[in-house]
C-alpha cells in the first residue's frame, strides 16, 4: 500500500520520460492547434465574430507583431466558429496560381459531403426533381443545363468557365457514368484531355477563370458562410518590393532579359495576386481576414487598393490589433498548456495532484513573471524561453530550485 508519494518527483520523472510540454513556438495553418486563446483575447475573438456576422463582404485586417499569435488566432476562430467554413491561406504558398490554390484549400476544408450537397441542391433547383407525368424523375441533363445557363448567364462574366462548371455539376449529380470523373474535376484534380472531353469540359481548374467561377458557385451556394484567412498578407508588398541590385548576388538568370529591367516577374505576380484577391469581393458572402505585421503595411496596402479601385476601400474594415500577452495571460497559458500536455499523455492525475490553479510546478510564479518581463509578453518568445527552461530541467542533473534561480 502506498502511504506517501512525492508528487513533484513523480511529475519530474514523467517529464524526463516524455520530454518538454513546450515544443512548438510557431503556429502553422497545417498543424492543428487545440489550445484556445487566453482570457484577454477572448473579447477580441468575440469582436471578430461579431464583425463577421454583421458584414457580408469584408476585408478585416488583424495587425500584430511577429510572434503575437496571429496564426494561432486562425485555429481559435476555427474552433469557435463552427458555422463557418474558415480556410487558411498562406500567401507565400498560394500567390502563384492563386485561384486554383485557393479553390483547392477551400474544397479540402469544406469536404466532399457538403460539395455533394451543393451540386444536388443546384440540380434540384434547376429542375432535376421535376416529375414527368407527376411521377417519373427523368433527368433531362440538356434541359437542366440550359435552365442553369439561362439562370446564371448574366451573373458570370466568363461564359466558357460557366459552361464548364455547369457541365461538371450536372454530370456529377445526374450522370452516374460520369460521376466519378466529375467529382475529381470538382475536387480540383488535374485532368488530361481524354477525361475532360468525356465530361464535355474545356479546362480543369488550373484555368484561373474556372477556379474563380467554381469558388464563387460553392461559396454562394453552401449552407454555411465562408471566411478566407490570409496569413502574412504583407507578402503582397514584400514580394513586389524593390528589385535587388545586380551586385547584391550573382544571378544565373537575369529576369530582366525576359521581362525588362524595371519590373521583376515576382513583382508582376504580386501585383496580379492583389488584383485577384480584390476580385474576390465579387463573391457574395465571402469574408476575408488578413493578417499583417504592422500598421505601415496596412496603410501601404490601403493605398494600393485605392490606386486599383477606390470604391473597394469601403469593404476594408478598421484593423484589429493583436497585442502581446498581459501578465495574467502567461499564468493561464502555462497552466492550460501543462494540463493539455499531461492530458495528452494520459497522466490524468495531474489535476488531482496539482489542483491549485496557482500551482505552477515545476516552475513557479516568480519564474513565470521573469519570463513575462524578459519577453515583454510576446507569446512566441515566451514559448521559446519555456522550451529552454524545460529542456534544462529535463536534461540537467541540477536541483530544480538551482535551475529556477537563474530565471527569477
Amino acid at each position: 500500500m502506498l502511504l506517501f508519494e512525492n508528487k513533484q518527483r513523480k511529475l519530474l520523472n514523467i517529464l524526463k520520460l516524455t520530454g518538454s510540454p513546450f515544443k512548438k513556438f510557431v503556429s502553422t495553418g497545417e498543424i492543428k492547434e487545440d489550445l484556445g486563446v487566453t482570457q484577454s483575447r477572448q473579447e477580441l475573438l468575440y469582436k471578430i465574430i461579431d464583425i463577421m456576422e454583421k458584414n457580408d463582404n469584408i476585408i478585416l485586417p488583424i495587425i500584430g507583431k511577429v510572434g503575437t499569435g496571429k496564426t494561432h488566432l486562425y485555429w481559435a476562430l476555427k474552433h469557435g466558429f463552427h458555422n463557418y467554413n474558415i480556410v487558411y491561406l498562406s500567401l507565400e504558398n498560394v500567390y502563384k496560381r492563386f485561384y486554383y490554390n485557393t479553390y483547392s484549400e477551400f474544397v479540402e476544408n469544406m469536404g466532399v459531403g457538403p460539395l455533394r450537397n451543393i451540386t444536388n441542391n443546384l440540380c434540384n433547383k434547376w429542375g432535376a426533381t421535376e416529375r414527368k407525368f407527376g411521377f417519373f424523375h427523368f433527368a433531362d441533363i440538356k434541359k437542366i443545363r440550359d435552365s442553369a445557363y439561362k439562370e446564371w448567364n448574366s451573373y458570370f462574366e466568363d461564359k466558357e468557365a460557366l459552361n464548364d462548371a455547369i457541365n461538371a455539376i450536372t454530370a456529377h449529380c445526374l450522370d452516374p457514368y460520369k460521376k466519378v470523373e466529375a467529382e475529381r474535376w470538382l475536387l480540383g484534380d488535374l485532368m488530361d484531355f481524354r477525361d475532360l472531353s468525356r465530361l464535355n469540359l474545356n479546362y480543369d481548374l488550373r484555368k484561373k477563370n474556372n477556379a474563380f467561377t467554381m469558388l464563387k458557385i460553392l461559396t454562394e451556394n453552401a449552407k454555411i458562410n465562408s471566411i478566407l484567412f490570409i496569413d502574412d498578407f504583407e507578402k503582397v508588398i514584400s514580394i513586389a518590393g524593390p528589385i535587388k541590385e545586380a551586385e547584391e548576388e550573382e544571378e544565373v538568370f537575369d529576369p530582366s532579359w525576359l521581362y525588362g529591367a524595371k519590373t521583376s516577374p515576382d513583382k508582376i505576380t504580386a501585383e496580379k495576386t492583389l488584383d485577384k484577391i480584390l476580385e474576390l469581393y465579387k463573391i457574395k458572402g465571402l469574408r476575408i481576414i488578413i493578417t499583417l505585421k504592422s500598421l505601415e503595411f496596412f496603410n501601404e496596402i490601403k493605398s494600393k487598393i485605392k490606386e486599383k479601385n477606390g470604391s473597394l476601400l469601403s469593404i476594408v474594415k478598421e484593423p484589429i490589433f493583436l497585442s502581446n500577452f498581459l501578465i495574467d495571460d502567461i499564468f493561464q497559458f502555462y497552466k492550460k498548456s501543462i494540463e493539455y500536455f499531461f492530458g495528452g499523455i494520459n497522466y490524468l492525475d495531474y489535476s488531482i495532484d496539482f489542483p491549485n490553479s496557482s500551482d505552477y510546478y515545476p516552475l513557479n510564479k516568480k519564474t513565470l513573471e521573469y519570463i513575462y518581463n524578459t519577453t515583454k509578453g510576446n507569446p512566441r518568445e515566451i514559448i521559446k524561453l519555456l522550451i529552454k527552461i524545460f529542456n534544462e530541467i529535463i536534461s540537467s542533473n541540477e536541483n530544480i530550485e538551482d535551475i529556477l534561480k537563474k530565471y527569477q
Binding site: 407525368f133 417519373f136 427523368f138
Partner: protein, 208 residues
C-alpha cells in the same frame, strides 16, 4: 397507409367523386390500363378529364400484344358507361419518400430501356415472360398491375429464381372492404403468378 378520404378523387366501385381541379401525382386505372398524370379535372357537367397523361398497358397489334406507353389527353364524359375505375392523388409526403429512394446512388448500373417493353404478361391467351432474360439485372421504371392493385417502382431486380423484387415502391390497392389505399414500401417481392403484367417504361417515351 394514408387517410383514404383525402386522396381518392374518383372511385367507381365505392361511388366516390370529388369535384375540382387537382394537380400533383395522380394515378388512374382504366380497365387494365394505367394513366399517370400531374393533373385531373372532375366536375358533374363535364365529367373527368386529364391533360397530357401517360397511358401504360398492353395493346393488340395485328396478331400479337405489345406494351405501350402513350402521351395523350383523356376525357370520360359519361361516367356510368365509361371504363375509368379510379383516380388517386398520391400524398406529397409519400411522393417525397419515393423521390428520396429514386435519387439513391447505390445502384448506378441500372438498365434504362430506351423504349417501353413488356417484361411479363399473364394473360390466358397471350403470355410474355422475359424474366429469365433479365435475371440479375436492375431495370429502371417498372410499372406493375397486380390483382386489384398497381405497383410503381423506381427499379426492379430479377433474382436468381426469376422472381421480381421491386425497390422504392408506390402501391395502390384495395383492402378487404374494397377501400382504396396508398402505401410506400422500400422493397416488395412478388410471385410472378400474382402479377397481371410488368411493363418497363422506356426513357424515350418519358422524354416526349
Amino acid at each position: 397507409m394514408t387517410n383514404p378520404t383525402d386522396i381518392i378523387l374518383y372511385d367507381r366501385l365505392m361511388k366516390r367523386k370529388v369535384n375540382g381541379e387537382f394537380t400533383g401525382s395522380i394515378i388512374s386505372k382504366c380497365k387494365d390500363k394505367i394513366i399517370f398524370s400531374n393533373n385531373i379535372r372532375i366536375s358533374d357537367d363535364e365529367g373527368i378529364s386529364i391533360i397530357q397523361g401517360l397511358l401504360v398497358g398492353f395493346e393488340k397489334d395485328v396478331n400479337k400484344v405489345i406494351a405501350v406507353s402513350k402521351k395523350s389527353d383523356f376525357l370520360w364524359k359519361n361516367l356510368e358507361e365509361d371504363i375509368l375505375e379510379y383516380s388517386v392523388l398520391i400524398p406529397e409526403d409519400t411522393m417525397e419518400q419515393y423521390d428520396k429512394g429514386q435519387f439513391s446512388d447505390d445502384f448506378p448500373y441500372t438498365l434504362n430501356l430506351l423504349h417501353t417493353a413488356g417484361l411479363l404478361l399473364n394473360a390466358p391467351d397471350n403470355r410474355i415472360n422475359h424474366l429469365d432474360f433479365f435475371k440479375g439485372e436492375i431495370l429502371k421504371n417498372p410499372v406493375c398491375s397486380v390483382l386489384k392493385g398497381i405497383l410503381v417502382a423506381d427499379r426492379v431486380v430479377i433474382d436468381d429464381k426469376g422472381d421480381p423484387y421491386f425497390y422504392d415502391c408506390l402501391i395502390i390497392g384495395r383492402d378487404e372492404h374494397e377501400d382504396l389505399k396508398v402505401s410506400y414500401d422500400t422493397i416488395v417481392n412478388l410471385d410472378e403468378k400474382n402479377v397481371d403484367y410488368i411493363i418497363i417504361l422506356g426513357i424515350e417515351e418519358l422524354k416526349i
